[in-house]
Protein backbone atom coordinates (compact mmCIF):
# COMPACT_ATOMS: atom_id res chain seq x y z
CA UNK A 1 0.00 0.00 0.00
CA UNK A 2 1.11 3.53 -0.72
CA UNK A 3 0.20 6.62 1.26
CA UNK A 4 -1.59 9.55 -0.30
CA UNK A 5 1.37 11.76 0.67
CA UNK A 6 3.70 9.44 -1.25
CA UNK A 7 1.50 9.55 -4.36
CA UNK A 8 1.32 13.35 -4.17
CA UNK A 9 5.10 13.55 -3.84
CA UNK A 10 5.50 11.49 -7.01
CA UNK A 11 2.91 13.57 -8.80
CA UNK A 12 5.07 16.63 -8.13
CA UNK A 13 7.06 15.34 -11.11
CA UNK A 14 4.14 15.88 -13.48
CA UNK A 15 4.29 19.41 -14.82
CA UNK A 16 1.82 21.54 -16.71
CA UNK A 17 2.99 20.97 -20.32
CA UNK A 18 2.67 24.68 -21.09
CA UNK A 19 4.22 25.90 -17.81
CA UNK A 20 6.98 23.37 -17.15
CA UNK A 21 7.88 24.82 -13.72
CA UNK A 22 4.45 24.17 -12.25
CA UNK A 23 3.43 20.71 -11.01
CA UNK A 24 -0.13 19.49 -11.26
CA UNK A 25 -0.21 19.32 -7.47
CA UNK A 26 0.76 23.00 -7.15
CA UNK A 27 -1.61 23.93 -9.96
CA UNK A 28 -4.40 22.45 -7.85
CA UNK A 29 -5.93 20.19 -10.50
CA UNK A 30 -5.55 16.92 -8.58
CA UNK A 31 -8.83 16.71 -6.67
CA UNK A 32 -8.79 13.21 -5.20
CA UNK A 33 -6.57 10.18 -4.69
CA UNK A 34 -8.04 6.83 -3.82
CA UNK A 35 -5.72 3.95 -2.98
CA UNK A 36 -6.40 0.31 -2.47
CA UNK A 37 -4.24 -2.75 -2.70
CA UNK A 38 -4.63 -3.21 -6.41
CA UNK A 39 -4.95 0.23 -7.88
CA UNK A 40 -4.48 3.97 -7.48
CA UNK A 41 -7.33 6.16 -8.72
CA UNK A 42 -6.51 9.81 -9.37
CA UNK A 43 -9.22 12.38 -10.03
CA UNK A 44 -8.33 15.56 -11.90
CA UNK A 45 -10.19 18.60 -13.12
CA UNK A 46 -9.11 20.97 -15.91
CA UNK A 47 -8.25 24.63 -15.30
CA UNK A 48 -10.42 25.67 -18.27
CA UNK A 49 -13.13 23.38 -19.66
CA UNK A 50 -11.56 23.49 -23.12
CA UNK A 51 -7.97 23.05 -21.94
CA UNK A 52 -6.26 20.98 -24.65
CA UNK A 53 -3.46 19.97 -22.24
CA UNK A 54 -5.65 17.80 -20.02
CA UNK A 55 -5.16 14.63 -22.06
CA UNK A 56 -1.38 15.05 -21.90
CA UNK A 57 -1.53 15.62 -18.17
CA UNK A 58 -3.67 12.52 -17.73
CA UNK A 59 -1.17 10.42 -19.67
CA UNK A 60 1.75 11.89 -17.70
CA UNK A 61 0.10 10.99 -14.39
CA UNK A 62 -0.25 7.38 -15.54
CA UNK A 63 3.35 7.22 -16.79
CA UNK A 64 4.90 8.70 -13.65
CA UNK A 65 2.97 6.39 -11.33
CA UNK A 66 3.81 3.42 -13.58
CA UNK A 67 7.49 4.35 -13.24
CA UNK A 68 7.19 3.89 -9.45
CA UNK A 69 5.84 0.40 -9.95
CA UNK A 70 2.12 1.15 -9.72
CA UNK A 71 0.77 -0.74 -12.70
CA UNK A 72 -2.92 -0.21 -12.15
CA UNK A 73 -3.58 3.51 -12.39
CA UNK A 74 -6.99 4.93 -13.15
CA UNK A 75 -7.33 8.65 -13.96
CA UNK A 76 -10.74 10.28 -14.04
CA UNK A 77 -11.41 13.83 -15.24
CA UNK A 78 -14.54 15.47 -13.89
CA UNK A 79 -16.00 18.73 -12.58
CA UNK A 80 -17.08 17.49 -9.14
CA UNK A 81 -14.64 19.88 -7.53
CA UNK A 82 -14.17 22.53 -10.19
CA UNK A 83 -10.85 24.29 -10.38
CA UNK A 84 -10.43 27.93 -9.55
CA UNK A 85 -7.22 29.93 -9.46
CA UNK A 86 -7.23 30.22 -5.64
CA UNK A 87 -6.29 26.53 -5.69
CA UNK A 88 -2.77 27.28 -6.92
CA UNK A 89 -0.48 26.70 -3.91
CA UNK A 90 1.95 29.27 -2.51
CA UNK A 91 4.81 27.20 -3.91
CA UNK A 92 3.06 27.23 -7.28
CA UNK A 93 2.55 30.99 -7.18
CA UNK A 94 6.23 31.49 -6.46
CA UNK A 95 7.18 29.19 -9.35
CA UNK A 96 4.91 31.11 -11.73
CA UNK A 97 6.49 34.40 -10.74
CA UNK A 98 10.00 33.07 -11.24
CA UNK A 99 8.92 31.76 -14.62
CA UNK A 100 7.91 35.33 -15.55
CA UNK A 101 4.18 34.77 -15.35
CA UNK A 102 2.26 36.93 -12.86
CA UNK A 103 0.31 34.69 -10.46
CA UNK A 104 -3.46 35.25 -10.32
CA UNK A 105 -4.66 37.56 -7.55
CA UNK A 106 -6.65 35.77 -4.84
CA UNK A 107 -10.34 36.56 -5.19
CA UNK A 108 -13.72 35.83 -3.69
CA UNK A 109 -14.71 33.72 -6.73
CA UNK A 110 -16.30 36.66 -8.51
CA UNK A 111 -13.71 37.94 -10.94
CA UNK A 112 -14.29 41.59 -11.61
CA UNK A 113 -12.50 43.65 -14.23
CA UNK A 114 -11.07 45.76 -11.37
CA UNK A 115 -8.78 42.99 -10.16
CA UNK A 116 -7.19 42.67 -13.60
CA UNK A 117 -5.50 46.05 -13.58
CA UNK A 118 -2.53 46.95 -11.39
CA UNK A 119 -1.22 43.39 -11.45
CA UNK A 120 2.31 43.15 -10.01
CA UNK A 121 4.78 43.03 -12.89
CA UNK A 122 6.89 39.84 -12.61
CA UNK A 123 9.87 41.68 -14.18
CA UNK A 124 10.20 44.74 -11.94
CA UNK A 125 7.63 44.25 -9.16
CA UNK A 126 5.72 47.47 -9.92
CA UNK A 127 1.92 47.50 -9.68
CA UNK A 128 1.67 50.31 -12.20
CA UNK A 129 0.32 48.06 -14.96
CA UNK A 130 -2.74 47.75 -17.19
CA UNK A 131 -4.45 44.76 -18.77
CA UNK A 132 -4.12 44.92 -22.56
CA UNK A 133 -6.36 41.94 -23.30
CA UNK A 134 -7.97 39.16 -21.28
CA UNK A 135 -7.01 36.66 -24.00
CA UNK A 136 -3.41 35.49 -24.29
CA UNK A 137 -1.44 32.69 -25.95
CA UNK A 138 -3.30 30.01 -23.96
CA UNK A 139 -6.81 29.98 -22.49
CA UNK A 140 -5.41 30.57 -18.99
CA UNK A 141 -3.28 33.67 -19.70
CA UNK A 142 -4.02 37.38 -20.11
CA UNK A 143 -1.67 40.07 -21.46
CA UNK A 144 -0.58 43.12 -19.47
CA UNK A 145 1.72 46.09 -19.90
CA UNK A 146 3.92 47.51 -17.16
CA UNK A 147 4.06 51.31 -17.21
CA UNK A 148 7.16 51.26 -15.01
CA UNK A 149 9.60 48.97 -16.86
CA UNK A 150 7.71 49.27 -20.18
CA UNK A 151 7.62 45.51 -20.62
CA UNK A 152 4.67 43.42 -21.73
CA UNK A 153 3.98 40.49 -19.45
CA UNK A 154 1.49 37.67 -19.09
CA UNK A 155 -0.63 36.71 -16.14
CA UNK A 156 -2.13 33.37 -15.17
CA UNK A 157 -5.77 34.50 -15.23
CA UNK A 158 -7.84 34.53 -12.08
CA UNK A 159 -10.86 32.27 -12.51
Amino acid sequence: MYSEAQILEWLEEVKDPEIPVLSLVDLGVITNIDINEHRVAVTMTPTFVGCPAIDYMKQDVIEVLNSYGIDNVDVQVNFDEPWNSNKITEKGRKALKEFGLAPPPKHNLIVDIDILDNIECPNCGSNNSVMKTPFGPTACRSIHFCNNCKETFEQFKPL
Binding site: F48, G50, F79, G136
Partner: protein
Amino acid sequence: MNEITIKELLYKIADDQLILGHRNSEWTGFGPLLEEDIAFSSMAQDKVGQSQAMYQLLHELGEAEPDTVAFMRNEDQFHNCQLTELPNGEYDFSLIRHFLFDFAYAIRFEMLANSSYEPLAKLSKKIQGELRYHTMHANTWIKQLGSATEESISRLQNSLNEAMPYSLGIFEPSPYEAELKSEGIFEGEEVLKEKWLAKITDVINQTQLQMPDISTLTPKYGGRKGKHTEHLQPLLDEMAEVFRIDPTADW
Protein backbone atom coordinates in the same frame (compact mmCIF):
# COMPACT_ATOMS: atom_id res chain seq x y z
CA MET B 1 -36.08 12.96 -14.38
CA ASN B 2 -37.21 12.80 -17.96
CA GLU B 3 -34.18 12.21 -20.17
CA ILE B 4 -35.79 13.61 -23.31
CA THR B 5 -36.22 17.04 -21.73
CA ILE B 6 -32.60 17.09 -20.51
CA LYS B 7 -31.26 15.96 -23.87
CA GLU B 8 -33.18 18.65 -25.73
CA LEU B 9 -31.70 21.28 -23.40
CA LEU B 10 -28.15 19.90 -23.63
CA TYR B 11 -28.24 19.59 -27.41
CA LYS B 12 -29.24 23.17 -28.04
CA ILE B 13 -26.61 24.50 -25.64
CA ALA B 14 -23.86 22.27 -27.04
CA ASP B 15 -24.78 23.02 -30.66
CA ASP B 16 -24.92 26.78 -30.03
CA GLN B 17 -21.43 26.69 -28.54
CA LEU B 18 -19.96 24.44 -31.21
CA ILE B 19 -21.30 26.45 -34.13
CA LEU B 20 -20.44 29.87 -32.73
CA GLY B 21 -17.09 28.45 -31.62
CA HIS B 22 -16.45 27.44 -35.20
CA ARG B 23 -17.44 30.88 -36.51
CA ASN B 24 -15.15 32.51 -33.93
CA SER B 25 -12.29 30.32 -35.14
CA GLU B 26 -12.73 31.76 -38.63
CA TRP B 27 -11.26 35.01 -37.29
CA THR B 28 -7.95 33.25 -36.66
CA GLY B 29 -5.44 34.99 -38.92
CA PHE B 30 -7.96 37.64 -39.99
CA GLY B 31 -8.62 39.72 -36.87
CA PRO B 32 -8.55 43.51 -37.35
CA LEU B 33 -5.70 43.67 -34.84
CA LEU B 34 -3.56 40.99 -33.26
CA GLU B 35 -5.26 41.14 -29.85
CA GLU B 36 -8.66 40.63 -31.47
CA ASP B 37 -7.39 37.79 -33.59
CA ILE B 38 -6.23 36.09 -30.39
CA ALA B 39 -9.41 37.00 -28.50
CA PHE B 40 -11.76 35.40 -31.04
CA SER B 41 -9.45 32.38 -31.39
CA SER B 42 -9.33 32.00 -27.62
CA MET B 43 -13.11 32.29 -27.29
CA ALA B 44 -13.41 29.70 -30.06
CA GLN B 45 -11.25 27.32 -28.04
CA ASP B 46 -13.37 27.91 -24.92
CA LYS B 47 -16.66 27.41 -26.75
CA VAL B 48 -15.65 24.29 -28.64
CA GLY B 49 -14.22 22.86 -25.40
CA GLN B 50 -17.41 23.69 -23.52
CA SER B 51 -19.52 22.09 -26.24
CA GLN B 52 -17.39 18.95 -25.99
CA ALA B 53 -18.07 18.77 -22.24
CA MET B 54 -21.82 19.13 -22.98
CA TYR B 55 -21.68 16.37 -25.63
CA GLN B 56 -19.91 14.26 -23.01
CA LEU B 57 -22.89 14.71 -20.66
CA LEU B 58 -25.12 13.61 -23.55
CA HIS B 59 -22.86 10.61 -24.14
CA GLU B 60 -23.33 9.64 -20.50
CA LEU B 61 -27.07 9.70 -21.18
CA GLY B 62 -26.63 7.21 -24.02
CA GLU B 63 -25.96 9.46 -27.04
CA ALA B 64 -23.04 8.76 -29.42
CA GLU B 65 -19.41 9.82 -28.76
CA PRO B 66 -18.81 13.61 -28.76
CA ASP B 67 -16.81 13.54 -32.03
CA THR B 68 -19.47 11.50 -33.80
CA VAL B 69 -22.22 13.81 -32.59
CA ALA B 70 -20.26 16.91 -33.57
CA PHE B 71 -19.07 15.78 -36.99
CA MET B 72 -21.55 13.25 -38.35
CA ARG B 73 -24.89 15.03 -38.21
CA ASN B 74 -26.50 17.02 -41.00
CA GLU B 75 -28.03 20.45 -40.61
CA ASP B 76 -31.55 19.29 -39.81
CA GLN B 77 -30.14 17.41 -36.79
CA PHE B 78 -28.54 20.52 -35.32
CA HIS B 79 -30.40 22.51 -32.67
CA ASN B 80 -28.35 25.70 -32.64
CA CYS B 81 -30.18 29.00 -33.03
CA GLN B 82 -29.74 30.64 -36.42
CA LEU B 83 -27.81 33.55 -34.89
CA THR B 84 -24.78 31.32 -34.34
CA GLU B 85 -24.57 30.05 -37.93
CA LEU B 86 -24.70 33.40 -39.72
CA PRO B 87 -21.43 34.25 -41.47
CA ASN B 88 -19.01 36.45 -39.53
CA GLY B 89 -19.60 39.41 -41.84
CA GLU B 90 -17.48 42.37 -40.95
CA TYR B 91 -15.94 42.78 -37.52
CA ASP B 92 -18.85 44.95 -36.32
CA PHE B 93 -21.32 42.12 -36.92
CA SER B 94 -19.13 39.54 -35.20
CA LEU B 95 -18.71 41.87 -32.24
CA ILE B 96 -22.44 42.55 -31.88
CA ARG B 97 -23.26 38.85 -32.17
CA HIS B 98 -20.60 38.05 -29.56
CA PHE B 99 -22.09 40.70 -27.23
CA LEU B 100 -25.71 39.51 -27.65
CA PHE B 101 -24.90 35.80 -27.48
CA ASP B 102 -22.40 35.81 -24.63
CA PHE B 103 -24.58 37.87 -22.31
CA ALA B 104 -27.44 35.43 -22.98
CA TYR B 105 -25.16 32.49 -22.24
CA ALA B 106 -23.54 34.04 -19.17
CA ILE B 107 -27.06 34.36 -17.72
CA ARG B 108 -28.12 30.91 -18.96
CA PHE B 109 -25.20 29.25 -17.18
CA GLU B 110 -25.76 31.36 -14.07
CA MET B 111 -29.33 29.98 -13.99
CA LEU B 112 -28.19 26.43 -14.77
CA ALA B 113 -25.60 26.53 -11.97
CA ASN B 114 -28.62 25.97 -9.70
CA SER B 115 -30.14 23.21 -11.83
CA SER B 116 -31.52 20.13 -10.12
CA TYR B 117 -29.68 18.08 -12.76
CA GLU B 118 -26.38 17.91 -10.93
CA PRO B 119 -23.91 17.12 -13.76
CA LEU B 120 -25.21 20.15 -15.66
CA ALA B 121 -25.16 22.36 -12.55
CA LYS B 122 -21.50 21.53 -11.87
CA LEU B 123 -20.40 22.14 -15.43
CA SER B 124 -22.42 25.36 -15.68
CA LYS B 125 -20.86 26.72 -12.54
CA LYS B 126 -17.45 26.16 -14.09
CA ILE B 127 -18.34 27.62 -17.50
CA GLN B 128 -19.96 30.64 -15.86
CA GLY B 129 -16.56 31.77 -14.56
CA GLU B 130 -14.94 31.40 -17.99
CA LEU B 131 -17.69 33.35 -19.74
CA ARG B 132 -16.98 36.36 -17.55
CA TYR B 133 -13.94 36.97 -19.74
CA HIS B 134 -16.10 36.77 -22.87
CA THR B 135 -18.68 39.27 -21.60
CA MET B 136 -15.91 41.51 -20.28
CA HIS B 137 -14.36 41.54 -23.74
CA ALA B 138 -17.68 42.26 -25.47
CA ASN B 139 -18.53 44.98 -22.99
CA THR B 140 -15.23 46.78 -23.41
CA TRP B 141 -15.56 46.99 -27.19
CA ILE B 142 -19.27 47.78 -27.35
CA LYS B 143 -18.82 50.62 -24.88
CA GLN B 144 -15.76 51.94 -26.66
CA LEU B 145 -16.89 51.62 -30.30
CA GLY B 146 -20.51 52.40 -29.46
CA SER B 147 -19.45 55.92 -28.48
CA ALA B 148 -16.42 56.47 -30.71
CA THR B 149 -16.81 57.77 -34.27
CA GLU B 150 -19.76 58.25 -36.58
CA GLU B 151 -18.61 55.24 -38.58
CA SER B 152 -18.14 52.91 -35.61
CA ILE B 153 -21.52 53.89 -34.16
CA SER B 154 -23.45 53.48 -37.41
CA ARG B 155 -21.74 50.17 -38.21
CA LEU B 156 -22.58 48.76 -34.79
CA GLN B 157 -26.12 50.12 -34.98
CA ASN B 158 -26.75 48.46 -38.37
CA SER B 159 -25.36 45.18 -37.11
CA LEU B 160 -27.42 45.43 -33.93
CA ASN B 161 -30.59 45.96 -35.97
CA GLU B 162 -29.71 43.04 -38.23
CA ALA B 163 -28.76 40.65 -35.41
CA MET B 164 -31.63 41.42 -33.04
CA PRO B 165 -34.38 39.21 -34.61
CA TYR B 166 -31.86 36.35 -34.73
CA SER B 167 -30.85 37.00 -31.10
CA LEU B 168 -34.48 36.61 -30.06
CA GLY B 169 -34.23 33.17 -31.68
CA ILE B 170 -31.85 32.14 -28.85
CA PHE B 171 -34.96 32.03 -26.66
CA GLU B 172 -37.16 29.93 -28.94
CA PRO B 173 -39.37 28.03 -26.48
CA SER B 174 -38.66 24.37 -25.92
CA PRO B 175 -41.54 21.87 -26.15
CA TYR B 176 -40.55 20.94 -22.59
CA GLU B 177 -40.59 24.34 -20.87
CA ALA B 178 -43.14 23.23 -18.26
CA GLU B 179 -41.30 20.01 -17.34
CA LEU B 180 -37.92 21.74 -17.18
CA LYS B 181 -39.35 24.29 -14.79
CA SER B 182 -41.39 21.95 -12.61
CA GLU B 183 -38.46 19.57 -12.24
CA GLY B 184 -36.15 22.42 -11.27
CA ILE B 185 -33.83 21.79 -14.22
CA PHE B 186 -34.13 25.19 -15.90
CA GLU B 187 -36.35 28.20 -15.20
CA GLY B 188 -37.10 28.65 -18.89
CA GLU B 189 -36.33 30.67 -22.01
CA GLU B 190 -38.76 33.47 -21.15
CA VAL B 191 -37.13 34.17 -17.77
CA LEU B 192 -33.73 34.07 -19.45
CA LYS B 193 -34.86 36.48 -22.18
CA GLU B 194 -36.15 39.05 -19.66
CA LYS B 195 -32.90 38.96 -17.68
CA TRP B 196 -30.90 39.25 -20.90
CA LEU B 197 -32.91 42.21 -22.18
CA ALA B 198 -32.34 44.10 -18.93
CA LYS B 199 -28.61 43.42 -19.11
CA ILE B 200 -27.97 44.35 -22.73
CA THR B 201 -30.25 47.40 -22.53
CA ASP B 202 -28.17 48.60 -19.60
CA VAL B 203 -24.94 48.33 -21.62
CA ILE B 204 -26.43 49.84 -24.79
CA ASN B 205 -27.77 52.78 -22.79
CA GLN B 206 -24.18 53.62 -21.83
CA THR B 207 -23.34 54.14 -25.52
CA GLN B 208 -24.74 56.18 -28.37
CA LEU B 209 -26.43 53.10 -29.81
CA GLN B 210 -30.22 52.75 -29.80
CA MET B 211 -31.84 49.60 -28.51
CA PRO B 212 -34.19 48.30 -31.26
CA ASP B 213 -37.87 48.11 -30.30
CA ILE B 214 -38.19 44.37 -29.96
CA SER B 215 -41.99 44.45 -29.78
CA THR B 216 -41.99 45.21 -33.51
CA LEU B 217 -39.63 42.35 -34.42
CA THR B 218 -40.44 38.77 -35.41
CA PRO B 219 -37.95 36.42 -33.73
CA LYS B 220 -36.06 34.11 -36.09
CA TYR B 221 -37.22 30.77 -34.75
CA GLY B 222 -36.67 27.32 -36.22
CA GLY B 223 -33.07 26.58 -35.32
CA ARG B 224 -34.03 24.59 -32.24
CA LYS B 225 -36.12 22.30 -34.46
CA GLY B 226 -33.46 21.80 -37.11
CA LYS B 227 -34.61 24.53 -39.49
CA HIS B 228 -31.61 26.53 -40.59
CA THR B 229 -30.42 29.20 -42.98
CA GLU B 230 -28.44 28.37 -46.11
CA HIS B 231 -25.26 29.10 -44.12
CA LEU B 232 -25.18 26.12 -41.76
CA GLN B 233 -24.62 23.15 -44.09
CA PRO B 234 -21.48 24.65 -45.74
CA LEU B 235 -20.09 25.33 -42.23
CA LEU B 236 -20.75 21.71 -41.22
CA ASP B 237 -19.17 20.40 -44.41
CA GLU B 238 -16.02 22.38 -43.74
CA MET B 239 -15.89 21.57 -40.03
CA ALA B 240 -16.31 17.83 -40.58
CA GLU B 241 -14.20 17.50 -43.73
CA VAL B 242 -11.19 15.82 -42.12
CA PHE B 243 -13.26 13.62 -39.80
CA ARG B 244 -15.38 12.39 -42.68
CA ILE B 245 -12.34 11.48 -44.76
CA ASP B 246 -10.55 9.79 -41.86
CA PRO B 247 -12.32 9.39 -38.51
CA THR B 248 -9.07 8.19 -36.90
CA ALA B 249 -7.03 11.24 -37.97
CA ASP B 250 -4.96 12.57 -35.10
CA TRP B 251 -2.54 15.47 -34.61
